[in-house]
């Protein structure tokens, strides 16, 4: 994307006025998407975006500028703007040398996928539409969406790093509306991986359509969710967003160094049930949150955050790690070259336990069984978080019975983590999009079936 001598001159220019660290993050991203809605392919979209973000760190201050002009002149102008924060230095020449580091087999996200024809993606959309509509006459609307992207990144910094990665991602989603006497209900299912079009070697769009339509249909006869505190069994692969919200965000070092997390000062302490071992791992297979190097050029790695209930570490990016005199944990990510990196999760999951999933339900006299979760949100300072259900049932006498309408559950992270009293073996991951401070990045969440002894559910039933 940019020649090495140019990178060296731009980094040198960025530090000309002072500052201890400079970085060029260049990105070339192309994306395509197609949406079938109301039985028609309404729109195919292609997008192309390339540019570079240049960062200069001087003391505690970061200067940042981005440009879509990847010529040397364009990059030098951005370097000049970013260096505005460091006008203390003498204006001399700073020389920087960078060396290309091979991403090695960690760059697996860079394997080229087969060329995708637009016709191929349309065929998938039609197949999903057919499968969803054949699930029952009550299915009144179907939307199927395909999205593929290729993102090449190149990161060079004044510490001599020069590294590249290529990330291909493919996503397919089906959402359905069902109509009945009780009104309308919705169902949604998505598959997303860090691969090219070969996603569809592993994923059946008919199966996604069946799950989405089944969810909408089941809820037509759903009763209002209960309100108040109940035992909750989360199905394996139901979302894993519980841990993402209950503690994942609170373990991000930017919240820690600003003393805006309930987990400040908790390393080495029991913060969860001994059944909880939580891992954030950007290297897992082709999961949605997987990459070769993070957006600061650090290889993805596996980080154990909680081990047998004991908090072992936080998640770090370059800036926060530097303040603490340690290494980044490979969690510096950004949405695009137009954004500053920050501490983000990758694939965050609870390691499976030893219980039997069916047995966990059988040993729950009454409660709520959540088969699929939607999104969630957390206030890291107080630890209060919510997560929503999109497919849930009552548990009565140890059996899964009636379907429930959608509701949010609310809890406090440190309290809920201690209430996990059973974890099964049926582990599965799900993809999601994590939003923080206006930036969205792909993440994975995972967990096996587990039980929480009490969570407040916000239904309308008294």
């Amino acid at each position: 994307m940019i020649d090495t001598p140019v990178l060296e001159r731009v980094l040198g220019a960025a530090l000309r006025h002072g500052g201890e660290f400079a970085e060029v993050f260049a990105e070339d991203r192309s994306s395509s998407s197609a949406v079938l809605d109301d039985g028609r392919v309404e729109e195919l979209t292609s997008g192309r975006d390339r540019g570079a973000g240049i960062r200069v760190v001087s003391g505690e201050t970061t200067g940042f500028a981005h440009t879509a002009d990847l010529s040397e002149a364009g990059l030098l102008r951005a370097a000049e703007a970013a260096s505005a924060v460091a006008r203390t230095g003498g204006g001399g020449t700073t020389s920087v040398a960078v060396d290309l580091v091979a991403a090695g087999d960690r760059g697996r996200s860079g394997e080229a996928g087969p060329r995708v024809s637009k016709a191929d993606s349309l065929e998938l959309l039609h197949r999903a539409d057919d499968a969803a509509r054949s699930a029952g006459g009550a299915i009144s609307q179907v939307q199927a969406a395909y999205g593929g992207s290729r993102r090449q990144v190149l990161i060079a910094n004044s510490e001599g790093l020069l590294v590249g990665d290529e990330q291909r991602r493919t996503r397919f989603a089906v959402s359905c509306v069902a109509v009945g006497d009780s009104g309308m209900q919705t169902g949604f299912e998505t598959a997303a991986r860090t691969v090219g079009f070969e996603l569809f070697d592993e994923v059946s769009v008919e199966e996604l359509a069946r799950l989405a339509s089944g969810r909408a249909l089941a809820k037509l006869s759903a009763r209002p969710a209960p309100s108040g505190e109940v035992p909750v069994v989360l199905a394996g692969g139901s979302g894993g967003i519980l841990f993402h919200e209950a503690c994942g965000h609170g373990l991000e070092a930017d919240h820690i160094v600003k003393d805006s997390s309930v987990y400040v000062g908790q390393v080495g302490k029991q913060v969860a049930s001994p059944l909880v071992t939580l891992v954030d791992d950007g290297t897992v297979g082709t999961e949605w949150g997987t990459f070769g190097v993070d957006d600061e050029g650090r290889p993805a790695q596996r980080n154990v955050l909680i081990e047998d209930g004991i908090l072992t570490d936080y998640l770090w990016d370059y800036l926060r790690a530097r303040q603490e005199g340690r290494q980044s944990s490979g969690n510096g990510r950004r949405q695009t070259y137009q954004h500053l990196p920050m501490v983000r999760m990758t694939n965050t999951f609870l390691l499976p336990g030893e219980d039997d999933a069916d047995e966990i339900v059988a040993q729950t006299p009454h409660g709520v069984y959540v088969a699929k979760l939607g999104g969630g949100q957390v206030n890291t300072t107080t630890g209060d978080f919510v997560f929503g259900t999109t497919e849930a049932y009552l548990i009565e006498d140890g059996r899964i019975t009636e379907p429930l309408r959608d509701a949010n559950l609310i809890g406090n992270g440190p309290e809920i983590l201690k209430r996990v009293d059973a974890v099964a073996t049926d582990f599965a991951m799900t993809p999601g999009t994590c939003g923080k401070d206006g930036q969205s990045v792909p993440v994975g969440c995972g967990q096996a079936t587990l039980r929480i002894t009490g969570v407040t559910i916000g239904g309308t039933a008294e």
Binding site: V41, L44, A65, G74, G375, Q377, N408, T456, G459
Partner: protein, 464 residues
């Protein structure tokens, strides 16, 4: 396009003319038998964040891009690029054209054509912004951070203090006769604080928004953040039960925004709205009158033109509880057999137009209540200061509503003890029928709907 601090030559009328010229040139490349719409945008932005008495980050940038829609034989294709380089313009048009060939032929698909409705001019441009030096912006945010830190002894931490501004210029040209251009500036100060007492911590945020740098009010942002954090100290999980819930202005903005997606003619046509098929019916209490009026210059979302280049206009959606109509863009309107209501919106050059509100308000109740008046009138209930999980717990198709909340109990017409970790649930349908008070304390907050204190009866509160 390069990123240069404070020196971008924005603010001159010449800029939209230059963008219009780019859009006209690309539209001029249309082949016979195809309609082409070209959206070209350019923006500058500055963001300064302070932490602990220092500048944490300073971002400055200029960006530009193009979005092209091509319609051939009632088939629509779209492509965008984050660049206005000459080669990119042609590539983008080619790609949109190629995409169109794969879409399903649909007689309702077409570009907007001028409809004779004159645009109401709204002045969204602050000439002064371009002359404000970066150093003044840095000083403003450092002063904001210091002010928040000193505002109350219970403030433990100022977790964020930000200044941001931006200017955007847009030109839209189509082969179907659309020519529109607009430009706007914006500025904000925002601050997030953590209040503490003993073991307990609570957070609060406040902001001040405007069309530029002048007039931003750090005192207002600070006092709002501090009040919201401090009054939650000592909050416990509140009691469960059926209650009247008073939504603070900021929460009410969110609430109205969710309702608005069910008023989209596109959602209705596709059976994705609980309002579908209910025109002329009673969908709310007699006090519910809901209007979208982007021509109101005070509205945060005020605009002269919609995202297809038609004039924005006032649309009355619900009158005295009776559903009057929906909002449409050109395609959704055609599907419903009506004209566009000038309600196309899009998220910049990388998005295609869709239907959306810009400036939604509820007519205030005859009592003319301010927030304290609504609280007095309710007497006993729950005041919701902020909601969480709106994207996961509110469904504008089924109408199911379940959100996390924090706020204060209302007792004897006054705010009483703080509560947290509770949920508030109902359905949007029922909430419209149970709207018991609409405050006259209208405030245009960032977003597509006004902030007004609202009271909704008979909601299920879930706590202990």
């Amino acid at each position: 396009m390069s990123a240069i601090t404070g020196t971008a030559p924005s603010g001159t009328a010449g800029d939209t003319q230059e963008l219009t010229a780019v859009a006209e040139r690309v539209a001029g490349w249309a082949r016979s038998g195809e309609d082409v719409e070209v959206y070209v945008a350019r923006g500058d932005e500055t963001e300064v964040r302070a932490y602990d008495g220092e500048v944490e980050s300073l971002t400055s940038a200029t960006s530009a891009g193009i979005g092209v829609r091509v319609v051939v034989d009632h088939r629509l294709g779209f492509a965008w690029a984050g660049s206005l380089d000459e080669a990119v313009l042609a590539e983008t048009l080619d790609e949109a054209r190629d995409n169109a060939a794969f879409a399903t032929r649909d007689e309702h698909v077409g570009l907007a054509v001028p409809d004779g409705v004159a645009a109401v001019p709204v002045d969204l441009w602050d000439d002064g912004l371009a002359t404000v030096p970066t150093s003044a912006k840095v000083e403003a945010v450092l002063a904001l951070e210091a002010r928040a830190r000193a505002a109350d002894p219970r403030i433990r931490q100022v977790s964020s203090a930000d200044y941001g501004d931006g200017s955007v210029e847009v030109a839209l040209v189509s082969t179907t006769g659309i020519r529109s251009a607009y430009r706007k500036t914006s500025g904000f100060l925002s601050v997030g604080v953590i209040a503490g007492e003993g073991e307990a911590s609570q957070t609060g945020g406040g902001f001040s928004v405007g069309r530029g740098f002048e007039g931003l009010d750090p005192e207002r942002a600070t006092s709002e953040a501090v009040e919201r954090a401090v009054r939650l100290l000592g909050a416990t999980k509140g009691p469960s039960g059926r209650r009247t819930v008073v939504f603070d202005r900021r929460a009410a903005t969110t609430l109205l925004s969710v309702v608005s997606s069910a008023l989209s003619g596109e959602a209705v046509a596709k059976g994705r709205s609980f309002f579908a098929g209910r025109i002329g019916e009673e969908v709310g209490g007699g006090g519910v009158t809901l209007v979208d009026d982007p021509t109101d210059p005070r509205a945060y979302g005020a605009a002269a033109y919609d995202a297809e280049g038609l004039a924005c206009r006032r649309n009355e959606l619900i009158t005295g509880g009776i559903l009057r109509g929906f909002l449409y863009d050109t395609i959704a309107g055609s599907r419903a057999g009506v004209a566009s209501t000038g309600s196309a919106v899009r998220g910049g050059f990388s998005g295609t137009p869709g239907v959306g509100c810009r400036a939604l308000t509820l007519a205030p109740g005859p009592e003319g209540y301010d927030q304290a008046g609504v609280i007095r009138a309710v007497r006993d209930g729950l005041f919701v200061q902020s909601m969480t999980g709106v994207h996961s717990g509110v469904n504008p198709i089924s109408g199911d509503f379940s959100v996390g909340a924090e706020g204060l109990l209302i007792r004897d017409g006054e705010l009483a003890e703080p509560v947290r970790e509770i949920t508030v649930a109902s359905t949007l349908q029922r909430m419209l029928h149970s709207l018991v008070a609409v405050g006259a304390d209208l405030e245009w907050l960032p977003g597509i709907a006004a902030g007004q204190t609202l009271a909704v009866g008979d909601m299920q509160v879930s706590g202990v």
